[in-house]
Amino acid sequence: MTGKDAALHLGVLAVLLAAFFVLPEYHSGSLARIMVLAVYAMGYNLAFGYTGLLSLGHALFFAAGMYGLALSMQIGGWPALPAFLLALGAALAVAGAVGVLALRTRGVGFMIVTLMFAQAGYLTVLYFGAWTRGDEGFALPQEVRNLFGLDVTTPAGRYFAALALFAVVLLALGALVRAPFGRTLIAIRENEARAAMLGYDVQRLKWIAFVVSGVVSGAAGAAYALLFGYAGATFAGVQYSIFPLLYVLLGGAGTTLGPFVGAVFMFYLIDLSSGITTAYMLVAGLALVLLTLFLPQGILGTLRRRALPWLP
């Protein structure tokens, strides 16, 4: 069981490693972006796919990471590594506080409360426009963007930094959901009352899952700012709360590779359609409706049910 999982994950990582040397530069650039977005979706998947917490406000944690890094580098003049750690701390603090409050509600209430908190976060970014420059955003200067001497402004540096983060998160979350902790989260998703009756501290476990999910999302946000050198209020908006939901639904909620598969498909779909029309979000809307109607388990979820029951 676990041997197959590990082989699959390592195989995917090996293919991604090789892909850089095979793909033309445009696509390897896109793939670097996709891997960072997939990290965001993997974080989201822990809350939504495994624990059953449908949050509509994860952009708040993505933005906490993004601005934690970008502002400490831009205004504080910090080097990249401490700025990245501060970003994780910012995401941890925000997710911790939001989790305590939002987890008092459930179902539809939880969705609306997370949406509202994220909206307040977005408005806060706009309110402090003197530092964040609001919707327009700001660019990080090229010379400060390096990590352990690795220059992340070059295509290769950017790609391998993204791959490293992706690999760490994939393997760590893959192990986490196989561990008793992850199993308990699935038990909570399937039947919260029963898990509570079996003696699990459901409220605390949900909070931990939510916070880990928020920190991973924050790591993705910080990496996005560092690798692509830009922070803007768009990333705190509703749209960026919807994207990870879309990726996870498309790829398959509660599967380890679903977020990545969903991100690849959706990224290229939106990329292709934005070449044709400015109304590229139409694709996202259609995908959401069609997925809820016809493929509620996503690509890998359906594959797991029909053909490959061992799929992690």
């Binding site: 449908l54 509509l56 409050l101 939002a102 008092r104 509600t105 179902g107 539809v108 209430g109 969705m111 609306i112 409360v113 509202m116 908190f117 909206q119 307040a120 408005l123 806060t124 706009l126 309110y127 919807i242 939901l245 639904l249 029309t277 400015t278 109304a279 590229y280 979000m281 139409l282 996202a284 809307g285 259609l286 995908a287 959401l288 409706v289 069609l290 997925l291 809820t292 109607l293 509620p296």
Partner: protein
């Protein structure tokens, strides 16, 4: 202007906001009350109402009043039918599962918004008001000669804005009569209380749901047709009404109709007054956080009954 006249002006502007908000939020509240689902695409039905009003008014091209009256009839009908169709094609098939309904209506939101962008375009377009005379308002002062009325410069409102307030009151009263005094309202309330029992008594619950979803969207569209001579029609105009309607419906207690009206007046008025005196962004941040806290600590709403 001095403080007093300024406050009066802010109150009147707030009353216009409150009137439109009451209509829009009522649509959301009726849908939630009867069907127990949250419609995230509600703001887009509002936007669609405004855009259709522009199409109707500019195609007819006759006197502004003709176009306006036609829009007031056509836009809610079209938007309501579209919503009913979406209900049958999408929501009924996922059997109104609360979480999947939200995901599906988010999808619907983008479909409507982006289709409008492709057809109507990214520009904001105005609709001419049917009548729009300026009415100067008096203010009083205690001067040397005792109590006196005077007309301060700038203290005025248009007749159209007064009409908007009156129209909203009439529509809401009609809705109340529909819900409490007619057979259709009785059927809706029966479905709300126990849909399985209603079905057993021969009420076509599926058709009632489609009609209620259409009615909710039509109310939003009416609000939009009324506002479009004041604010222009634009494909992104649905965002703010959606958020404000959420706030109103939550504060008023999900599904409670009188609570919705009271909350709409409260929020609309304070929004108008606060944004005159404070930074609108800060006011929005505080309002959003306050509402989130209400949901966390008093999920039944400030005026709702418990166990909503």
């Amino acid at each position: 202007m001095e403080f007093g006249p300024h406050l009066m002006l802010a109150t009147l502007e707030g009353a216009v906001t409150a009137a439109i908000l009451a209509l829009t939020a009522m649509g959301l509240s009726v849908v939630f009350g009867v069907m127990r689902v949250v419609n995230v695409a509600h703001g887009e039905f509002y936007m669609l109402g405004a855009v259709i009003a522009w199409f109707v008014a500019s195609t007819l091209g006759a006197h502004p009043a003709v176009g306006f009256v036609a829009a007031l009839v056509i836009a809610p009908l079209l938007v309501g039918s579209l919503a009913a169709l979406a209900d049958v094609l999408i929501l009924q098939r996922i059997s109104y599962d609360p979480e999947r309904t939200i995901v599906a209506t988010i999808g619907l939101l983008y479909i409507i918004q982006q289709t409008t962008l492709m057809t109507f375009g990214p520009d904001a377009r105005p609709v001419e008001a049917p009548f729009n005379s300026r009415i100067a308002l008096p203010w009083f002062e205690f001067g040397d000669g005792g109590f006196a009325l005077y007309w301060p410069w700038g203290l005025s409102i248009t007749s159209y804005k007064l009409f908007v307030i009156a129209a909203a009151v009439v529509i809401l009263a009609a809705l109340w009569l529909l819900m409490t005094r007619t057979k259709a309202g009785l059927v809706m309330r029966a479905t709300q209380q126990d849909s399985a029992m209603a079905q057993a008594f021969g009420i076509p619950v599926a058709r009632v749901y489609a009609l209620v979803f259409g009615l909710g969207a039509a109310l939003a569209a009416m609000g939009a047709v009324l506002i479009v001579p004041i604010q222009q029609a634009h494909y992104l105009m649905g965002g703010d009404p959606l958020l404000l309607s959420f706030i109103v419906v939550i504060i008023g207690g999900l599904g409670s109709l009188p609570g919705t009206v009271i909350a709409a007046v409260l929020i609309g008025m304070s929004d108008g007054i606060i944004s005159v005196f404070f930074s609108p962004t800060l006011a929005k941040i505080l309002a959003t956080l306050a509402v989130a806290m209400v949901l966390v600590f008093r999920p039944q709403g400030l005026m709702g009954k418990s166990a909503a």
